[in-house]
């Protein structure tokens, strides 16, 4: 079982995000699929609005927009960045590494270490673990973690499971060295036996089907019930394992920020862990499930709405495609 323990002398300094210009409300789904029961769909998903990247607009583009917004705000300077981590399952190319392209587009130093990592819903927490490790290991002082997705490009317009949930976005988070350990511990895990329950077949080197002149299917496929049962099995245990590792109780956590998978998932986790509603950040309705970007976007929007206070102890938990999952504790002390 893969685990990463310990706390890092690092903090989340700033977060920004970017959404595509075009958004789609549930009424648009009805127009394309008149037989869908939108009330039933909304009760399950909790999503009213999703964002859809333009043709030719990629996850990298959205992350560039988020990063430029962050630099323009003065929250961080691009000259400070010495590591660039790009979490996406929608890279610009199979090769070269999109992070290399982003280093150039963002005008970062050529002394920046940069790489992509392919994770979805657990990506932000894994990204914090990687950035924290790089900082703690002396490989960088200030990292830029970009989490971006354009899952809508993988989804069939008639897919009643996926289309009402997933949304496109890019996020940019600066993680920098700090005097006190403000990130960690972590508890991370993987169960690849569930890989086929949320996947885009024929999207890489392994190809299947397509014989006898049939077109190979390359749409996102999700077995909702199986993924749901995985969530119930993995997430509450992951939270409890993390708190045990930290020697902390649920009561010691000020706010829980889960990956914004869907309403039914958040409700089930909250009920299972017996979490009071006021301690759970929910930010699904107007943004949708933006995969690895849900947690940073939820944090930033909570910050904008005045819901976060300096010094608060946050528990972040990402889980999903892979299956992959991870949680960590963070003390909230951004620069601004």
């Amino acid at each position: 079982m893969a685990q990463a323990a310990g706390r890092f002398h690092a903090r989340i300094s700033a977060i920004e995000y970017a959404l595509p210009q075009r958004s789609e409300e549930n009424s648009a789904l009805q127009a394309d699929n008149p037989d869908w029961d939108l009330g039933k769909i909304y009760r399950k998903t909790g999503v009213s609005r999703r964002y859809v990247a333009a043709p030719g607009q990629t996850a990298a583009d959205l992350c560039v927009e988020a990063a430029e917004k962050l630099f323009a705000s003065g929250a961080a300077r691009r000259e400070e960045i010495s590591a660039l981590l790009f979490c996406t399952q929608s890279p610009d190319y199979a090769l070269p590494t999109t992070a290399c392209v982003l280093q150039d587009r963002l005008g970062l130093s050529t002394r920046t270490l940069a790489f992509d990592f392919n994770l979805g819903c657990s990506g932000f927490v894994y990204g914090l673990a990687i950035a924290g490790s790089l900082i703690e290991g002396g490989l960088c002082d200030c990292a830029l973690l970009l989490c971006g997705e354009t899952y809508t490009k993988y989804i069939s317009p008639n897919d009643r499971t996926c289309r009402p949930i997933f949304s496109d976005a890019g996020s940019a988070t600066v993680i920098e060295r700090s005097a006190r350990p403000l990130i960690g511990p972590f508890d991370l895990g993987t169960d690849g036996s569930g890989f086929c329950n949320l996947m885009v077949p024929n999207s890489g080197a392994r190809q299947q089907g397509g014989g006898n002149g049939q077109v190979k299917d390359a749409h996102l496929k999700m077995d909702g019930p199986s993924v749901f049962m995985f969530t119930l099995s993995a997430v509450p245990q992951n939270v409890q394992d993390l708190l045990k590792k930290a020697g902390a109780s649920q009561e010691a956590v000020d706010l829980f920020v889960f990956h914004q998978a869907s309403r039914v998932v958040l409700d089930s986790i909250a009920e299972n862990l017996k979490l009071p509603p006021e301690k759970i950040i929910r930010d699904l309705d107007q943004v949708g499930n933006t995969v690895s970007a849900t947690i940073p976007i939820a944090l930033r929007r909570a910050q904008e709405q005045g819901k976060l206070k300096m010094g608060q102890r946050l528990l972040l938990c990402g889980f999903g495609v892979g299956y992959s999952w991870g949680s960590c504790l963070v003390e909230w002390e951004p620069r601004t």
Partner: protein, 81 residues
């Protein structure tokens, strides 16, 4: 023998799908009940999870069980009834 498990499972399925219990027979499945679509199935899994105090997460294959009989079989084999 799954007979002991059928009735509680039928009750849970009926509640989850908002159907009268008499409509959810032992033979009921995703093929026979229009209300038992993918959303209905998720409702059933949530309801079973609550009914059995979260222990259904330990039963492999439950997510793919789309009939009352199969659900009851797995619940019974899982030692929950």
């Amino acid at each position: 023998m799954i007979s002991g498990a059928l009735s509680p499972v039928q009750e849970v399925v009926a509640d989850a799908l908002r159907l009268p219990k008499e409509k959810v027979t032992e033979e009921a499945s995703m093929e026979t009940l229009p209300e038992w679509d993918s959303f209905g199935h998720l409702n059933i899994l949530v309801a079973l999870h609550k009914r059995f105090d979260g222990k259904t997460k330990e039963i492999p294959g439950l997510a793919k069980a789309t009939s009352v009989k199969r659900l009851a079989e797995l619940i019974r084999e899982g030692g929950l009834l």
